[in-house]
Symmetry: none
Subunit: 225 residues, 2 copies
DNA sequence: GGTATAGCTTAACAATTTGATAACTTTTAA
DNA sequence: TTAAAAGTTATCAAATTGTTAAGCTATACC
């Protein structure tokens, strides 16, 4: 799951609860920043631009609802996920929170596991379909954007090159026979010469500057990191 | 709030609860269709293409979780909002439900007002992403008002130009295939010549004086800031 | 209702990029 | 050692896109 790179800001005045939440979300792979009250939360939000903000409603100084209102006024946070967390199971507060523009509302006591699941579900909702992105260490293959990113640098491959690489990378380690490659990338109709695949492989190797395509002599090629 | 035109499918076997939910959501301006069990829910979903599906977990025949799994397998519903509704406050079930790919989880008893608020919040989020205005640095695209603003200056695009740009900008970075563009901007009925898209792209580039549309040769176009 | 205007599409051609091949060299495995 | 397979390079053809101008269409305006 690659949405786990997302950043979460937790604003909670009770240190114990804060620590439990932070620990569990970090275990899940999220980056967590924290705040002890509303003002600090706003400052941290501006500094770190989190993808999700968890606001305790009962906090000293600015409470969660006021904080949410202020954040939503800023265009930078108009799309940020905001979730309230509170011990109040008071219905009026809950409704007020949601009308304020929060995306969800969690009632304490909530188990860390449930929290993590809810957070995952929220991100799943906004991250739409991320099945188009393959990642291997420093190498990213983004099928949707049709680019390769290696060590932060964009690499542009021509269509055939890209499709060939994407095919090999779709099953790392698997050896693709020349025939398989021809069928998948060129289709069964087209007939091309013997050296065509080699030339494309060469160009990929050249552009990527990375030894990720291995030749299996007499058989085919495979992708390996 | 224009998202109130949205359609909601409720699957719930207890007629009393079903009626209360339906009544309250209709009062709020939503269109509601109903189902009494999982199979019926799937049939209704296919028929009505709802924007949100509320699934009771405990239902005769297929339960809510199974139903959700089946729906998510169908690409037509892979992005549809799904919310579980159940009397179980059992933690394991809750987690299982969320991992299944539901977007939220509501525990009975839930007051109609809270339900309505949660539903509103869910729609607020997805509508925010789809509609309203997109902003990329100095460039603003206001889909509602059909206006582009670049560095404070209004730029007037013709309708096709605007729709093409708005489509590309709706997913920055994503490469839209020529076919996708034709389907989205022109519709599946209309057939236009090969160079039509290019000409519109050229005009957009010319008017915006900004290099924000990238050609991916042999594939399509993408919007990038 | 007629005319002006902007918008949309197309055709024709230019420019560019991509892909395939030939011809040759190098590597590999038996 | 030696075929067979794969690598390399330059070159040319083909595919794709960019550009421009012109014609058609719908809409607005008088």
């Amino acid at each position: 799951m690659d949405f786990k790179n997302n950043k979460i800001l937790i604003a909670e005045d009770e240190p114990d609860i804060l620590e439990i939440l932070q620990f569990n979300l970090e275990m899940e792979g999220y980056t967590v920043v924290t705040a002890k009250n509303g003002d600090e939360a706003i400052a941290q939000a501006k500094k770190h631009q989190p993808d999700l903000i968890i606001l305790d409603i009962m906090m000293p100084g600015k409470n969660g609802i006021e904080t949410c209102n202020l954040l939503r006024l800023n265009p930078a946070f108009s799309h940020t996920l905001i979730v309230f967390l509170t011990a109040l199971s008071d219905e009026a507060t809950e409704i007020r929170g949601l009308e304020t523009g929060a995306d969800d509302y969690l009632t304490k006591p909530i188990s860390p596991k449930v929290l993590v699941s809810k957070v995952n579900a929220l991100f799943r909702r906004i991250n739409k379909d991320d099945n188009s992105l393959l990642q291997f260490g420093d190498l990213q293959i983004d099928r949707e954007r049709y680019i390769i990113i290696n060590q932060g640098k964009d690499i542009i491959l021509a269509r055939k090159e890209f499709e060939l690489l994407a095919l090999l990378a779709s099953k790392p380690g698997k050896v693709f026979l020349r025939n398989e490659i021809l069928n998948q990338v060129w289709g069964t109709e087209v007939i091309v010469g013997d050296r065509t695949i080699d030339v494309h492989v060469r160009k990929i190797r050249q552009k990527l500057k990375l030894d990720c395509i291995t030749t299996v002599k007499g058989v085919g090629y495979k992708f390996e990191v």
